[in-house]
């Protein structure tokens, strides 16, 4: 829901489970209580979210064991720590206090994940655009634009010399190079008629 995106800087994602109040500079008094109760869970991303993502890349008749999901969960947390550590070192070297998105992207590149950089930058640009759009455009126009963007986004899959291209979409556009920039033309352009069907019927009456 759009209403839940409050600000550009600090985004609040209300979680169902724990009473978390995310903010940039963490004051630990609230978090200590949560940490004592579900310390284990805090170390990892929720398994349901992880599960949903990984199901996108295996066939529908494939299954994943619980311990595999948990292992992947742990690996993701390790990935976050790994990248954050690198980004944090960079900030320290440059005597900056705040880790920003560009630092993360830099760290990801440095650690060898340069294939991610293209989609990440695209994602970040779109996110920034959308945050800006909210100030300018009304909801209806934005939703049309987003539909076009989303169709493009779903086509980016990894193609690391695999024979397997698992694509859950109906149109089989597979981008072999991750570094693509939008030069697409959406196939179903929404038509905006100068008159609505409602008004037409009124005329007939």
């Amino acid at each position: 829901m759009e209403d839940e995106i409050k600000h550009g800087n600090v985004t609040h994602v209300p979680n169902k489970g724990s009473p978390e109040s995310p903010h940039v500079a963490c004051s630990d008094s609230n978090h200590n209580q949560n940490n004592n109760n579900n310390k284990e869970q805090d170390r990892f991303l929720p398994i349901a979210n992880v599960s949903r993502i990984l199901k996108k890349v295996i066939p529908s008749n494939g299954k994943i064991s619980k311990d595999a999901k948990e292992t992947i969960q742990e690996c993701v947390s390790e990935f976050i720590s790994f990248v954050t550590g690198e980004a944090s070192d960079k900030c320290q070297r440059e005597k900056r206090k705040t880790i920003n998105g560009d630092d993360i992207i830099w760290a990801i590149t440095t650690l060898g994940f340069e294939e991610y950089v293209g989609p990440l930058k695209l994602y970040l640009t779109k996110y920034r655009e959308m945050e800006g759009e909210k100030l300018i455009f009304p909801k209806q126009q934005r939703s049309d634009q987003r539909r076009q963007h989303s169709e493009y986004e779903q086509n980016i899959v990894f193609n690391n010399n695999n024979n397997i291209n698992i694509n859950t979409n109906s149109n089989n556009n597979v981008y072999s190079s991750i570094n693509v920039y939008p030069s697409f033309v959406p196939s179903d352009q929404p038509f905006s008629l100068p008159f609505s069907s409602n008004s037409f019927q009124k005329q007939l009456q």
Binding site: T11, R43, S51, I72, C75, N100, S150, N160
Partner: protein, 121 residues
Amino acid sequence: MRQAGTYSGILSGGISGKTGPHLLPLARIKKIMKRSGEDVKMISGESPIVFSKACELFIKELTQRSWMVTMQGKRRTLNKEDVASAVMATDLFDFLVNLVSESGNSGEAPPPLELDTFTSS
């Protein structure tokens, strides 16, 4: 509601999709970032968002590689050993080697199929 569909490509939520626009909870990502070191104090608002996407890409890549191992074994259930094999086989995932080998295996490099710990579920 129409809005939920329009978000679905980029910023869609997962199971708890209605609670937020991103696939992964930003607050949890922030927590994990802070745990990574003493020096991590201030994090910009964009960082968890970048990570949200990066983690999604990472999960997809790791899963795809693991699934290839599963298929090589002519199985349809991806298990932990497949993940470990994929990690071992990929230079990029070297930082995970200790993580996958310490969870249950005593040796340095677990063999792709370990019959005593193999569970099919």
